[in-house]
Symmetry: none
Subunit: 413 residues, 2 copies
């Protein structure tokens, strides 16, 4: 069984509002085993709505529309639906009661415009709206369902999960479709594809693999379909076990987990703390760590030392090191990490120093040259990277790779 | 002339990734006077791509595709396009050179998979990709253009604005449509609308105003259309002069300029420096400042003091202040700002301390309670804010309002 989503609204077509409804609905449907095969955004125009509906019923079993159900003149979805199903409008007493109740609760007066919202196409089953005045509508035709819902997320969301999805599941038998996302770091997409070729070749026919690259990271999404949910889940877990053999160090998280979150969990479990000393990341490393709620449980702080004088005076980096080796060097970044760990009184530290660009590069140290160090009370490891020319990406990658270096260190002690 | 956008990618259909590309592209097209009449998301499937293309060329003059151009097996857009235009594949020397250059810059080795990205359908003009290996492709057929671009925003965005839109405008004639964005801070949308009512009422008929609220800020977009570009531009400037009379302190930038950029320019002109001391913003304030290229010319660094011990030991905040008034108080944030200014040897400083949430609130100081201070050698100004329950927003607003407090201070001395 396949679904299709049609989001109606001019504001979605001029870039003023991002269509978050579409992806949220697709996710809810997927969690119920229903595959969305298309999401379409169209304007508040009767002809566009009719054309999209005609195309959609050719392809899909379930068609969900949102938007265009308000009381004002630009809301024309209801008329379009009456046209599509070639029927008149009737007043629904149930909906009118709901509207009256909502208004009396809020001590508002009902206008003629509001009362008109109780008019629905004759051939639909109205779906009650607990958070607004526009009812949803459920139509059936030739074994297919067409469902229309309000576009306001606050009204649409509970209507979809509490009423519409149960109605669909009652009507159709759905199989299981399960996705698992695997987060990897440090290997580019094409190299990863080579490393995984033989594993990918042997994936069972009901499984699909997708590569989702991000700066410095690649997410792998493994999808599997089948009759029974448990069996499919087991199948996915088996494949992930095999995958771990190919990528023992590169996989750091699954599904919604992030690198700062995973690192935070590791530190909390060990009851240990971390501090940072940042030059080229300029506070972004601290920001990633502190974007995790509860990070004050393991994170002490950062010294963002953007000038050499601050590296010397506040972080205690030896002036001779800075003169002889430069701010972007193994020697300086090691000193930054070691001094930060001691000054903050932390168990671990991460330090960054690099030329983020666009200026500041030299033939010896071009833009993108970066040093990252991670220190514990036992040792300090420093690594050299050569990133690209893009400032924002260089900052982002440096912070991620710094977090990953600490993750790797924690795994090995 | 009308456009249509087709975003290809399974990840967009399972709710894993929100289709921000679609709305961003629609906005860029609109800014160039091109109307988007449909945005469609389809899976990485050849049949879906072909069907969508067939439908789109019936309706629209320009069809833009994104996604499915990577080197891995799930990327099949190129094959589908060769099928649609019924042509074979050829190797583009230009594209191969670009890939070689990118790889040698990064000292990577080119794999067979990478080299395959230089293969393009015979009937297309390849569009060079300055930020990745997958070229864009420009096709023409029966007076219509079909353009295929990578789905990675970092690669697609400059390709669209710098290459594709100029190619479209070269092919079709469009009238002058000019937009100017005015950035305001500190006044909520509804209040702003009240303040601007009489100005808005008197706007000429060819001008349109849109309110684009963001956390803590509202952008106003003024659009004007006409025959001659220069006359329209002059008209917009006249209206902005009037607008400045209504919002003398709230407007801080135009078009692509940001608050950190504007503040950086002011400091560079005065040859003065700033340092920061951050608790609740956790490095985000430093990150905003250092995301501006050249910020090392006026920014010295930040002490991210996430724990009270660090506030005391490294920032020199008096322990009695912390005990008697708490970390989130006027007294503490003033001490943080004053000490940071002196320790870093800066002309100015910004300090933040607040309860970002979700935990840590008390009846006296609920989540969202925030203090921000700005110090110079003459004085220190501290302000209290009560933001909401959303951690990320609280961090973001605190950093922005801190930057704005320094901007206002600089304007008055």
């Amino acid at each position: 069984m396949t679904a299709e989503i049609i989001n109606i609204g001019d504001e979605l077509l001029i870039g003023q509002v991002i269509n978050t409804n579409g992806s949220w609905m697709a996710e809810q449907l997927r969690l119920s085993g229903i595959d969305t095969q298309r999401i379409t955004i169209i304007p508040d125009e009767k002809e566009s709505i009719l054309l999209s509906l005609r195309e959609a019923v050719e392809r899909s079993d379930v068609i969900m529309l949102t938007g265009g159900l308000g009381p004002t003149r630009d809301d024309i979805t209801k008329d379009a639906l009456a046209g599509f199903f070639n029927c008149g409008m009737v007043e629904s007493n149930e909906v009118l009661d709901d509207i009256r109740r909502l208004f009396s609760q809020n001590r508002w007066t009902i206008s003629a415009l509001n009362a008109r919202q109780a008019l629905v196409p004759e051939s639909c089953i109205p779906i009650r709206n607990n958070n607004g005045t526009a009812p949803g509508m459920w139509f059936e035709k030739d074994g297919k369902c067409i469902v229309s819902m309000p576009g306001v997320p606050f009204e649409m969301k509970p209507m979809l999960t509490d009423q519409v999805i149960p109605m669909i599941l009652g009507k159709y038998k759905t199989g299981a479709l399960i996705h698992k996302t695997i987060h990897t770091i440090g290997v580019p997409e094409s190299k990863l594809a080579e490393m995984l070729e033989s594993w990918e070749d042997r994936l069972p026919g009901n499984m699909k693999l997708a590569y989702l690259p991000q700066p410095g990271m690649v997410r792998l999404r493994l999808s599997a379909s089948g009759i029974e949910r448990e069996a499919v889940e087991k199948q996915i877990e088996e494949q992930i076990k095999l995958l771990l053999g190919y990528l023992p160090d590169q996989i750091f998280a699954y599904n919604e987990d992030t690198l700062p979150l995973i690192l935070g969990r590791m530190l909390l479990e060990r009851k240990q703390t971390v501090a940072t000393a940042e030059s080229c990341t300029g506070g972004y490393l601290a920001h990633l760590i502190t974007s995790v709620p509860g990070s004050s449980g393991y994170y002490l702080g950062s010294m963002v030392a953007y000038s050499n004088r601050v590296k010397k005076n506040l972080l205690g980096v030896d002036g001779h090191l800075l003169e002889n080796f430069g701010a972007v060097s193994r020697e300086t970044v090691v000193s930054m990490a070691e001094n930060a760990r001691i000054k903050f009184g932390a168990d671990f530290s991460i330090a960054t120093s690099g030329i983020a660009g666009p200026d500041g590069g030299t033939p010896d140290k071009p833009v993108g040259t970066t040093w990252i160090a991670v220190a514990s009370d036992k040792a300090c490891v420093a690594k050299h990277f050569l990133f690209g020319n893009h400032r924002e990406r260089n900052i982002h990658k440096t912070a991620l790779f710094g977090l990953n270096m600490l993750r790797r260190l924690l795994l090995n002690i």
